[in-house]
Symmetry: none
Subunit: 429 residues, 2 copies
């Protein structure tokens, strides 16, 4: 078989149920994972209902654009199952009954101890030039065709039939038609910067390269930069990742909290607390328990999480944490001195190494001229010193609480093991 | 505007991250649900990477086949965000800076207290003839264009920006271009029963009807039954909803917590606490602050949420809540008496009407022969009595914590205003 150079694939999932508000195609994820490992990019995915005309058109269009086309589903025995027929029509090939597939099918039904309905015979039809892919877990065989430019595969929809067929039948048949190639990835997990500011910061580096390819993903307060290098040697792929990744690391500074793709800020903070044999307690107002919930999200969190106080009112800040009534009256609950006192109290009352506090206006009501809605004070008290930072998150309640929680965890991350001797630092009494 | 007869829609989700093995497009489900409610069927869905050329081609092809085209994502401020430009090119229309959108954008950044990076200005460009769709939760406006045959809409990718925009901006603009038809819906929000048990309970009622169409959606601890009746008169549609809905209400009993589609258990509990002029305090172990976080999720929660204690260790349960060391030693922290003592302490120490407690084994480690991993005790103490329930949730940490949080809120919901005179009830000391 000649070594073609297919690089791009498309996936079509077939089934009207995948076009309802309840169902989502996840089969394509299995196929994508295996294609990526072979160095093949998925350029587009489609979901088409059980509609022969639309499917024929979709197949034709995909084959004009892409080297490899994977079709998933629509291989059952009913009138609805149009995939075999649509591929044959789109390629201008015949669909003929395979006597070998017919006898395999009859044998399967004999084993299942079921009579074979006549429509099941549809599953024994192969597209001209196609190789049948055995399906030990179901009745419909897959099909594999090499085309001038690449390949077309028809795979069954049920995930437990699909997955082994991809691994055992599809991958070995695709390998010989692909150029040998290596894919290496590098990930950066980032917090403390907005998406567009991040892009302004690092785009001058990554836009100079198409290999590695750079992707930026974001959720509130959390960003992910992903580099993916393609090459014919591991050494070169790694060199490419260093060439682009290292300057990005420099630019990110301490906003980079992890280089592990699956990491979360919670997990990083948990690791740091363990490494330094330290513990934490929380005193939350504006975040209402969200910081404690994140800190206890990881198994074994009782090793480093000691206690949490959610003090929503002035009275509770005084009663539970011992923040002085005079301090509350003079500065109000949303203030630097009260955030400091809360962090300090969380630390001393629980005996934890660090006390972490949040107080602010989540909105929509509240706020002052100096501290409008969205203003949050985040406090930390440690063995050597205490520190408060003031942040303004904007006017959306959900966003403010989420970002303040992330901000508090990040303040803890940056403080663990340091002496907290920053600007705005005040000595621990 | 003329009454066209568009019936078929296509959805294109844009973003290279949606072509990786880790991410799946779920935004299209939100859009599909709303389109279906308008009587529009989704005929095909596509995922295209951040690839301008492929996207232009996909838009052109979709517009040849379908009446309505919805594009989701790719409206951000970076070079990667190609949707605006691709639609303009595909339609042969200009893309021009809207001074109004520019000033809205500047105002948003002013509110967020962030400097606007220059690339954000991309978000102020509108396609010729398009109407901007306001986005109160993000910076990128949506866009709506009516075409000769139907409509094209550009919507933002983040789900919390997308969902309100679909409901408040897209649906009202699509209605006038669709043939008139009455669709009426009825929703049931349910907790305290699993999805398959629920289906066993209510399927005998709803499977007799195809109109209304019944859908069951589930997330951990929370279920949604949705009836959709289609008719040419409101009266008939409503009669259909009564015919199927009323017997379902009977069967659900107090597991039905709301008939408002957009309601959450948090919001229902908040309304009940307000109505009865009552307050609550929490003492959490296994849920680590998640109950407090849910209770403070609603604006104005300081009216009814007094205080939260997260006591993760025996020592803290004793020190912070005053649970006796003897009780902890005799029964262990995960036990009915300790759950009761925690709830009682939360109530008395804070002065709240109700004290709500959680203690259990989230796993993966821990547990005893009698109380294996996944066992949780939920306690409530009220003016008249206290009550503890024991639940077993299974071995997944995330699931156990989520279900225990939901269970605690549901226990509170059922207790507010009642005298808590149930089995397992013990008198308040």
């Amino acid at each position: 078989m000649p070594h073609l150079s297919p690089k791009q694939a498309e996936i079509i999932a077939i089934g009207s149920e995948l076009l309802t508000p309840e169902r989502v195609d996840t089969n394509s994820l299995i196929v994508t994972r295996h294609l990526n490992l072979l160095g093949v990019e998925v350029a587009a995915k489609h979901v088409i209902g059980d509609d022969r005309v639309r499917l024929i058109e979709a197949i034709r269009a995909a084959l004009e654009r892409s080297d490899i086309l994977i079709l998933i589903g629509g291989l059952g025995p009913t009138e609805d199952d149009v995939t075999r027929d649509a591929v044959a029509v789109a390629l201008g090939r015949k669909l003929t009954l395979s006597l070998q597939q017919e006898s395999i099918l009859l044998e399967k039904f004999r084993q299942f101890n079921r009579a074979m309905a006549k429509n099941n015979l549809r599953q024994a039809y192969l597209i001209e030039g196609a190789e049948a892919l055995p399906n030990p877990r179901g009745s419909a065989p897959g099909q594999f065709l090499s085309t001038g430019r690449g390949a077309v595969a028809l795979l069954p929809g049920p995930p437990r039939e699909l997955e082994p067929m991809v691994e055992n039948e599809l991958v070995p048949r695709l390998k010989p038609v692909l150029p040998p190639q290596v894919i290496r990835v590098r990930s950066f997990r980032i917090t403390g910067i907005g998406e567009s500011d991040l892009d302004t910061l690092i785009a001058p580096v990554y836009t100079k390269y198409t290999n590695p390819m750079t992707t930026v993903l974001s959720s509130p307060g959390d960003l992910w930069v992903h580099l993916r290098a393609q090459s014919d040697s591991e050494a070169e792929a790694d060199a490419l990742l260093r060439e682009v990744g290292n300057p990005i690391v420099e630019l990110l500074g301490d906003r980079l909290y992890s280089e592990r793709a699956g990491d979360t800020l919670d997990a990083v903070v948990a690791r740091l607390l363990r490494q330094h044999h330290t513990t934490v307690a929380t005193a939350e107002s504006v975040t209402g328990g969200m910081v404690a919930a994140r800190l206890t999200d990881t198994a074994g969190s009782s090793d480093y999480f000691v206690a949490g106080y959610v003090t929503y009112t002035d009275e509770q800040k005084h009663q539970i944490l011992g923040v002085s009534e005079e301090l509350l009256a003079r500065h109000s609950a949303v203030s630097e001195p009260v955030a400091a006192a809360m962090a300090q109290a969380a630390r001393t009352r629980s005996g934890a190494t660090y006390g972490l506090s949040t107080t602010g206006y989540a909105g929509p009501a509240g706020g002052t001229e100096f501290d409008p809605v969205g203003t949050v004070y985040l406090g930390i008290a440690g063995p050597a010193a205490a520190k408060v930072i003031r942040v303004r998150y904007g006017s959306d309640r959900f966003r403010t609480r989420t970002l303040a929680t992330q901000g508090a965890l990040d303040l803890l991350r940056k403080s663990i093991g340091s002496l907290l001797m920053d600007f705005r630092t005040r000595p621990t009494p």
